[in-house]
Structures are given as C-alpha cells and as structure tokens.
C-alpha cells in the first residue's frame, strides 16, 4: 500500500488533490481511498488530506500516520507545523516552491530521505501561467506522478478531465504536464510495479 499525505491551506484544493489522486489510481484499476482531515474548513487555515493506493481492498480507516509521500502545497506551513511527521525513511517529498531546500530551511529534514526523493516545483507560478489561477493542486499531482512513478501521467490527465471540464481542465492538464517534466528532470523515477 502506498500512502500520501497532502498539506496545504483552505482554498488551495487540498481535498480535491487527494480526490484526483484516488481517481487516477482507480482509472488504473487499483483501489484507492481519499479523505480529508476533518475540521471546520476556512480559507487560509492549514488543511490536510490523505490518499491510500493499493492493489487490493483498503479496509483501514485511520488517518495516515506513516506516509510514503508528502505533498506540500504551501511552504509557509513549515513555520507552523511538522509536516514531515511520520514520513518513512525511504519516503518522497514534493513541495510547491520556487526556492530550494536550503532557502526553505528544511535541508536537515530532506537529508533523512534518499537522494532525489525530494523536489521543489513552482506549482503556483505554473498554474498562473497555464490557466491564470493560483491553484497548485492538480499541477503537483503531475509532479507527484513523475517523482513516485506510482501513476502514469495519462491517468492523472484523465482524472483531471473527469473533475474539470473545458478551459479549466485543459489548463490544469498542461500545467500538470509542465510540472511532470520539471520533476522528471530533477528526480530519478523509480518504477514501483507490483510493489507495495
């Protein structure tokens, strides 16, 4: 089972990101369970969502305590909470930022996971460029597909299409593809076929 935790702020589509990830996995014939951290959702407040992907039925209903991957949609969260909590030693980290790990002050945390398992991608800028809206969620999903090798980009594309139609859908897809290419260049993609 592969477990992802997504951190962001209310209004950034954190819950939709987990939903899209689960739909992409479903398209590939896998079982997936996506759910938000439940709370009174307000714009700007820290929000967490989760997605489990497995090749068999997912029965457990606890929050994800030891994620295989963490996606951070808003780097200002580093100041207020430990987003790396429980991350597995061979886990992945994807951050929405145009800065590097040093500038973000998270160099030590990144050192704990394998080389090239972490990546910064300026998802908000990419989103503005491709669709004129600062929505980083679907963009990061493209990056996630490249980094983890867990999902084919085609599945991500279909998942986005199923949620957003017309211009918004197209913009999100081209932005996700741009992120996919950036991340692909900077990380080693490990195929996880049949594993986990």
């Amino acid at each position: 089972m592969f477990q992802t935790r997504i951190h962001g702020r209310g209004g950034q589509g954190v819950v939709t990101a987990a939903e899209l990830m689960s739909v992409a996995a479903f398209i590939e014939g896998r079982h997936a369970q996506a759910f938000p951290s439940f709370g009174s959702e307000r714009t700007g407040a820290p929000v967490v969502s989760y997605c489990r992907i497995n090749n068999k039925e997912i029965r457990t209903r606890e929050p994800i305590l030891e994620p295989d991957a963490i996606i951070i949609q808003d780097p200002t969260l580093f100041n207020s909470l430990d987003v790396f909590q429980g991350l597995k030693f061979d886990g992945y980290v994807l951050i929405n930022s145009n800065k590097n790990f040093d500038e973000l002050g998270i160099k030590d945390a990144i050192k704990k996971i394998p080389n090239k398992h972490a990546c910064c991608v300026p998802a908000t800028e990419i989103a503005i460029k491709h669709m004129g809206r600062p929505m980083p969620n679907a963009v990061l999903l493209g990056g996630f597909a490249a980094m983890s090798g867990l999902l084919a980009f085609k599945s991500v594309e279909k998942a986005i299409q199923s949620k957003f139609s017309g211009k918004i859908g197209d913009g999100n897809i081209s932005a996700a593809l741009a992120a996919f290419d950036i991340v692909k260049k900077t990380t080693v993609t490990k195929e996880k076929k049949g594993k986990k």
């Binding site: 997936a32 369970q33 996506a34 029965r59 457990t60 606890e62 929050p63």
Partner: protein, 417 residues
C-alpha cells in the same frame, strides 16, 4: 458500474435510484453532501417525479416527511448530530405511526462541547425511538443499505435509519459499484402503503390512545421489530441474488473460527479492526471481529450463537452511556446472559478521535493477558484529566472544563478566576 466517488454522493445516487417522491432537508450543518446531491439530481431532471423541499429546520424536515409518507409518497431525508436531536419528537412520531421513511444519519458527536466530528452518540440517542437502525461498514454497504432500507421499511411499514460514519465514510472517496436503474427497479417494487391519507377514502392517522390500548400498540411495534430479524437476512439474500454481493444482514462475522477474543463493533472501524486481526492472527493470536449491521432490531440470538464459544468479548464502541459505560456493550451483555463469557467495554473514537491500529493492538495485547479493565477509554490522556481534577480540587471557581483543558493542551497559563 464502479465509480471512484465520495460516500455521500454514492448514497445520493442510490437514493435517487430508489425513485423517492419526496425528499426534504434542512440544508445547513450538520448536513452531508447527500441531500445536496439529491437536490442536484432533482433539479437536473435526472430524478423525475420527486419533490425536493427545503424546510426551515430539522424538526420541519421530519415533520414534512411524516406528512408526505402518510399520503403514500416514498419519502427520504438525512441528518446528523444536533439535527437528529432537534427532530427527536418527530422521530418518535414517525415510528409510532408506522410510516416507512428512510433517513440517513451521517454519524456525529453531540455537543456540548461543540464538536462536528464522528462518533455514534447521535443515533444511539434514538436507539429506543422505534426505528430500525442499520450500520454501514463501508461506502459500498452504505449505498446498498439504502436500497434495502426502502424495501424493509415499506414491507414492515416502519421507518429505517441507515447510519454511516460522518466524515470517515460520508467524505471519503472510495470505489463504489452504483447499480443500474433496471436492477434497482427489479429489486424494489413501487411503494404500496399499508395506510394512506386519501381524500377519496378519508380516515385519520394518529389517534389519541389511552391506557386501554397504548401497551398493545407499543407491543406491536416491538413484535414488528422481532419479525424484522427474520426479514432483514431475507432482504439481504435477495439483494445478493440481484446485485451479486453481500451487503446488510444482521451481523458480519470475520475470522470467528476458534477465536478466543472477539471484538464486537459497528460501522467503519470494523475495517481497521480487521487489519489488526489479520496481523495478530499471523502471529498465532486467536482473534476475530463481529460487526453489527442491524442494531435495531438487536439480533440477540445470532450474537449469542456467534460469541458463545469465545473466552472474552471486547465491545469497541463510539458511544458512551455517561454514568454506566457502553451502550452497545449493554446490549451485548444482555445477549450473553448466563454464558459466563466476559464482556469488556472499550469506548473509542469519541468526537472524532482517530482509532489507530497501534492503539487497538496494544489494547488487544492487554486483553489477551486478562488485564483489560471492564471499561476502558482508548487513548485517554490520563495526565490531562488529572490536571483538571487538581484544578477542581484547588479552587471551587475552577471554571469551564472544556476551556481549561484546551488552555492546558496549548501550554497556556491557567487563568486566575
């Protein structure tokens, strides 16, 4: 067809497939996306011959449902938490009058303290109100149970609550098989009301009944629920023959063969417990799970039969009878009378506290050593409790408990009152 879909939305689609004629709801928290989804299906014309009524409160929601059901319309509503309490009087009326309304409860805690998260306190508060109560373990089962619920309710002329864990199921995206309209039509015949308000053939429903007949009317409600114990498995069996999968029924047994310790629970936490059981079984521990689908009527005999050969029963429940212990445990204890099997109560998941596998495993290990208390609060922070008790001992004016504990957890200084 399989869909990756939010639990609430899956339920909305399945409710629509049942061709309800009236859906009424008060669209404010604590609501789920269920009635919102139903509203969209009515507005878009996908759900035909159905009136969606936005009412002014939960009390009105169920009151309208009572009225429409009495005129012979298939009627649906949904609520949770304080919403269910606000309609409490109408809850008793619906069952007392024998009206086959189906209502979803997206299970949540009851305040105060204000809490919007999941537990079973809401539906447990209405356990003796005369409705049938079915608890879903997964979103697939939640969707399926609604189709079964209309059939069950209309067969008995009694209302049915389908209880599904708020947030944990209602807000989770899962793989759910949404059946075809043809199959649902084949399974669920049109509503033929046992009693109906019809101007062409007028009579009244809701007479005042004095001591001369009240007991008999109540007895018949009980008798009907006892009959439901036979009908619920039959309806689940028919469901399987049409839709090809197991859903509903009275109880679900998992790895009970040779089990010395059996966890009894309801709702979605059964999935988490099953994962723990599988891990512990691999290490030779003889553990199983029984999840109760039909809480009302309570299947005493079936539960007794399934549990009588084990050494200990652990009732894991998201509800608390303050001043007594477990709500579900109380019912299980009564079922086990005379067997000598020890029943432990573990209260967990109150107000949305996550029930994690490590905590469950630890609790089960303690139980295996025969060291589990009769009543345990899973993951209770004893130190936090002790500090508040101390504050109360020190000062008569120690102030509100909830606020004190939140300040304590945030590491803030105590307020001098």
């Amino acid at each position: 067809m399989f869909e990756q879909i939010e639990g609430s939305n899956a339920v909305a689609k399945c409710v629509a497939l049942c061709r309800p004629e009236v859906i009424c709801a008060y669209p404010i928290s604590p609501q789920t996306h269920i009635v919102e989804g139903c509203g969209k299906l009515v507005k878009s014309g996908k759900l035909k011959n159905c009136e969606f009524i936005n009412v002014e409160s939960e009390f009105a929601a169920l009151s309208v449902a009572i009225g429409s059901s009495a005129t012979g319309a298939r009627t649906y509503t949904a609520t949770a938490s304080q919403g269910l309490l606000f309609m409490a009087e109408a809850v008793y009326n619906a069952s007392g009058l024998g009206l086959p309304i189906v209502m979803t409860i997206g299970n949540r805690a009851i305040g105060a303290p204000i809490n919007i998260w999941n537990d079973h306190t809401d539906s447990m508060s209405m356990r003796d109100a005369g409705w049938l109560q079915l608890f879903a373990e997964t979103n697939q089962e939640a969707a399926d149970l609604h189709i079964q619920a209309f059939k069950l309710a209309e067969f008995l002329s009694m209302p049915v609550m389908v209880c599904m864990d708020g947030f944990i199921l209602t807000h989770a995206y899962d793989r759910v098989d949404i059946p075809s309209q043809e199959k649902v039509d084949a399974y669920l015949p049109p509503f033929k009301p046992r009693q109906v308000l019809d101007p062409a053939n007028p009579y009244s429903i809701g007479a005042m009944v004095g001591p001369e007949a009240f007991t008999e009317v109540r007895y018949l409600a009980h008798e009907k629920q006892q009959r439901a114990l036979k009908i619920i498995p039959k309806i689940a069996k028919e469901f399987k023959s049409v839709f090809g999968r197991n859903s509903g029924g009275l109880i679900h047994n998992y790895k009970l063969d040779g089990a010395k310790t059996i966890v009894v629970t309801l709702g979605s936490v059964a999935g988490t417990v099953k994962d723990v059981v599988d891990r512990m079984r691999k290490k030779g521990k003889k553990i199983g799970v029984l999840s109760i689908c039909s809480f009302r009527p309570f299947p005493k005999l079936e539960i007794r039969k399934a549990l009588k050969n084990c050494k200990r029963i652990i009732v894991l429940e998201k509800s608390l009878a303050v001043g007594f212990g477990g709500v579900v445990a109380n019912n299980v204890m009564m079922s086990m009378q005379g067997t000598g099997v020890h029943v432990h109560t573990v209260v967990a998941g109150l107000g949305g506290r996550p029930i994690t596998q490590p905590s469950l495993k630890k609790m089960l290990q303690v139980a295996e050593k025969d060291e589990l208390d009769d009543l345990t609060f899973l993951d209770l922070e004893r130190k936090v409790v002790e500090r508040e008790l101390k504050r109360e001992r020190v000062s008569q004016k120690s102030g509100p408990i909830a606020e004190n504990i939140l300040r304590d957890l945030a590491g803030l200084k105590e307020i001098k009152r």
